[in-house]
C-alpha cells in the first residue's frame, strides 16, 4: 500500500500549460478540520460559561444578603435600607400583578391576531400587519416608558382614570386616585410591549399546524371559526401556551419602561392607580444609589430571584413551544 502510494505521488499529469501534482491518497490529514471544530466549540463553550457565570456571579454577590435575610425575604414587605431590613414581598407582588394582567390582555389580543394572520387575512393584509407587529417589538423599552409617562399617563390621569373610578368605583380596587404613574399605566405599557412576542410565537405555532388537521374538520362541514376551535387551537394548544409564557418572561424582566411608569413606591398597592415597584424596577432605581453594602447585596438578591424566575419560566415556555414546532426546528438536513 505505502509503496503504491509513493509511486502514486510521483505522478504528474500534463495539462494545458501547467501541471497539477497528483496527490497521494494517504498522508497527513488536514489539521484544518480540528482547528475549525475547536474554534466553534470554544464559542459554544463560551455561551455555556456565560449562563453558568450569570448564576454564579449573582449568587456569589447576594450570598451575604441570602444569609442575612433568610427565607423571609420572599414575603416580608418591609424594605428599609438604612435599618438594613430587606423584604422583597412588595416587589414580588408588583411584578406579579403587572405581569399577570399584561399576560392576560396581551394573550387574548395576541392569539386572536395570530389566528387572524394565519387563518383569515389575505397576504396583502397579513404581511404589512406582521411588519407592524415586528416594529412594535423593535421600539426600545425606554421609548415605551417615555410615551407611557408623558402621553399615556396624562390620558389616564385626566380621562380614562376618572371614568373608570366613576363607573367601577363600587369595586374597591378601582376606587383610587388616578395619576400619571402607577400600576394601571404599567399594565397597559407592559401589555403593548409583550404583545409582539406572544403574537409572533403564536403565529409560528399556528402556522405549524398541518393542513390536514384543518381539512379534516372542514370536510365535516365546519365553519372557519369551528375549525379554529375544533382543530387548530387544540393542536397548537401547548405551543400557544408556550408563547404566552414567553411573553410572561419578558413582562417579568421588563425594566426601564416599568421603572418610568410604575411610580416606584415601596408598599402593597390597594387600587389599580397606586404606585408600586417591580423586582426589575427597584434594581434599576436603587442600585446606583445604595445606602450600604447590605442594601447592594439585597438588590443583587432581588436580581438573582428575578433571574431564577425568568429562567424557570423560559425553560417551561421553550419546552412547550418546542413540542409543537419541533419538526421544523430540529430536523433540517444532515
Amino acid at each position: 500500500m505505502s509503496d503504491a502510494a509513493r509511486k502514486d505521488a510521483s505522478l504528474a499529469v500534463e495539462t494545458g500549460r501547467t501541471s497539477i501534482p497528483r496527490v497521494s491518497l494517504t498522508g497527513g490529514r488536514s489539521v484544518g478540520n480540528m482547528v475549525f471544530a475547536g474554534l466553534v466549540g470554544v464559542a459554544a463553550v463560551v455561551v455555556i460559561l456565560l449562563i453558568i457565570g450569570l448564576f454564579w456571579e449573582l449568587g456569589d454577590r447576594s450570598l451575604p444578603a441570602i444569609r442575612a435575610n433568610g427565607w423571609g425575604f420572599l414575603w416580608n414587605t418591609t424594605w428599609d435600607p438604612p435599618k438594613r431590613i430587606f423584604g422583597a414581598g412588595t416587589f414580588i407582588v408588583g411584578t406579579l400583578i403587572t405581569s399577570v394582567v399584561a399576560l392576560v390582555a396581551a394573550s387574548a389580543v395576541g392569539v386572536l391576531v395570530a389566528l387572524f394572520l394565519v387563518e383569515i387575512a389575505p397576504a396583502w393584509v397579513a404581511r404589512p400587519l406582521s411588519v407592524i407587529v415586528e416594529l412594535l417589538a423593535a421600539i426600545p423599552s425606554v421609548v415605551y416608558g417615555l410615551w407611557g409617562v408623558y402621553v399615556l399617563g396624562g390620558f389616564i390621569r385626566d380621562f380614562l382614570g376618572p371614568w373608570i373610578a366613576q363607573t367601577l368605583g363600587f369595586i374597591p380596587i378601582f376606587n383610587g386616585d388616578p395619576r400619571i404613574t402607577g400600576i394601571f399605566s404599567a399594565c397597559i405599557v407592559l401589555s403593548i410591549m409583550i404583545l409582539p412576542t406572544i403574537m409572533a410565537v403564536s403565529r409560528d405555532v399556528i402556522a405549524a399546524v398541518p393542513g390536514s388537521q384543518r381539512e379534516g374538520v372542514l370536510a365535516l362541514g365546519a365553519t372557519r371559526w369551528e375549525m379554529i376551535t375544533m382543530s387548530v387551537l387544540p393542536y397548537a394548544r401547548s405551543g400557544v401556551l408556550g408563547a404566552a409564557i414567553l411573553g410572561l418572561a419578558r413582562a417579568v424582566g421588563e425594566t426601564l419602561a416599568i421603572t418610568l411608569v410604575i411610580g416606584n413606591r415601596v408598599g402593597i398597592p390597594h387600587t389599580i392607580f397606586d404606585p408600586a415597584y417591580t423586582m426589575a424596577s427597584v434594581i434599576a432605581n436603587q442600585f446606583t444609589e445604595v445606602e450600604n453594602e447590605a442594601h447592594r447585596a439585597a438588590l443583587v438578591e432581588v436580581a438573582l430571584l428575578l433571574l431564577v424566575i425568568t429562567f424557570v419560566i423560559n425553560v417551561i415556555a421553550r419546552l412547550l413551544v418546542w413540542r409543537v414546532t419541533n419538526g421544523q426546528n430540529v430536523t433540517v438536513q444532515e
Binding site: G41, I120, I139, L146
Partner: protein, 290 residues
C-alpha cells in the same frame, strides 16, 4: 360537536355562520387594536420630538441640569462606540456558536446548547448588567464603556447565534456536496461555501440584533453608567442614547423632556431604518433558497 357539525340543519347553520362572522370580526378588531399603539407612539414621537431636533442635538454635549440648551453628542457617539464594540466582541462568538449548532449540533449536546441559547435570549437584560457589574466594574472599581459593550454583547450573542444556525441550515445541501466532491475538507466547505452563501441572512440577523442592543439601557446603567461629557475612551464611563433618554425623562426640566423626545425620535428612526434595511435584505434571502 363533530356530529352536530355533520348533520347541521338549516337554521342552526345560519346561526353558526353568523357566529363565524362575528368571531372573524373580533379577530380583525384585535388586529386593528394592535396597529393603534404603534401609530400613537410614532405620532407622539414625531410631534414631540421634531421640535427639539436641531444641529445642537448632534453637536453639543448635554448641558448642566436646568441650564437649558445642550445636545446629545456624547450619547450618540457613546452608543455608536459601545454598539460597535459589542458587535466586535459578540459576533465571532455568536457566529461560532451558530456554526457549532448547525455543523455539530445534530445530537443531544447540540439540543442542550440550542436550548441554553434560547434561554439566554430570554434572560432580563438588567441581570446581565448586574453580572457584568460584578465581573468587570467591581474588580477595577470603575464604570467603563468596555463593560457596557460586554453586557450588550451578551444580549447580542444568543439572538445572532440562533439566526446564524438557521441561515446555515437553509444553504442547499447540493452546494456542500459540490465542495466535498472537489476535495474540500469540511472547514473549507463551511468557511468558503456555506458561510458566504448564508451571509445575507446572517447580516439580516446581525441587523436585528443591533437594533435590539442599540435600544437597551438596562444593561448599561451599572456598567457604562452614562457620562454627560464626550468620551471615546473604552476604559471610562460612557454615555448612550437610551441611557440619556432615561435620565432626561426622569429629570424635572421641560427642556430635558423635549430633548428626550428628540433623542427617542432619532433612536427609533435609526432602529426602524435597521429593521427596514433587514426587510430589503430578507428579499435577497430568496436567492439562498434558489
Amino acid at each position: 360537536m363533530n356530529r352536530d357539525a355533520f348533520v347541521a340543519t338549516q337554521p342552526r347553520y345560519a346561526r353558526r355562520k353568523f357566529f363565524d362572522r362575528v368571531m372573524t370580526g373580533v379577530m380583525g378588531a384585535a388586529a386593528l387594536v394592535t396597529v393603534v399603539p404603534l401609530l400613537l407612539i410614532l405620532f407622539y414621537l414625531v410631534r414631540n420630538g421634531v421640535g427639539a431636533i436641531n444641529l445642537d442635538l448632534f453637536l453639543l454635549d448635554p448641558s448642566a441640569p436646568g441650564r437649558g440648551g445642550g445636545g446629545a453628542r456624547s450619547a450618540l457617539v457613546g452608543s455608536l462606540i459601545m454598539v460597535g464594540t459589542a458587535t466586535v466582541i459578540g459576533t465571532p462568538i455568536a457566529i461560532g456558536c451558530g456554526i457549532f449548532l448547525a455543523e455539530f449540533g445534530r445530537n443531544r449536546a447540540g439540543t442542550v446548547l440550542r436550548f441554553l441559547v434560547d434561554v439566554l435570549a430570554g434572560i432580563p437584560s438588567i441581570t446581565v448588567g448586574l453580572f457584568i457589574y460584578g465581573l468587570m466594574v467591581l474588580p477595577v472599581r470603575k464604570f467603563t464603556a468596555l463593560a457596557g459593550a460586554a453586557a450588550l454583547a451578551i444580549i447580542l450573542i444568543p439572538i445572532l447565534a440562533r439566526i446564524t444556525e438557521e441561515m446555515l441550515l437553509l444553504v442547499p445541501r447540493s452546494l456542500r456536496e459540490a465542495a466535498y466532491a472537489l476535495g474540500a475538507p469540511r472547514w473549507m466547505t463551511v468557511l468558503r461555501i456555506v458561510l458566504p452563501t448564508a451571509l445575507p441572512g446572517i447580516m439580516t440577523g446581525l441587523m436585528l440584533a443591533l437594533s435590539r442592543i442599540a435600544g437597551e439601557a438596562a444593561p448599561l446603567m451599572f456598567t457604562a453608567l452614562g457620562n454627560q461629557f464626550l468620551n471615546t475612551d473604552l476604559l471610562h464611563a460612557m454615555d448612550a442614547l437610551p441611557l440619556r433618554i432615561f435620565y432626561f425623562a426622569t429629570g424635572p426640566y421641560e427642556s430635558w423632556h423635549q430633548q428626550a423626545w428628540a433623542m427617542s425620535l432619532v433612536l427609533v428612526a435609526f432602529i426602524l431604518f435597521l429593521s427596514l434595511g433587514v426587510r430589503a435584505l430578507v428579499g435577497s434571502k430568496v436567492t439562498i433558497r434558489q
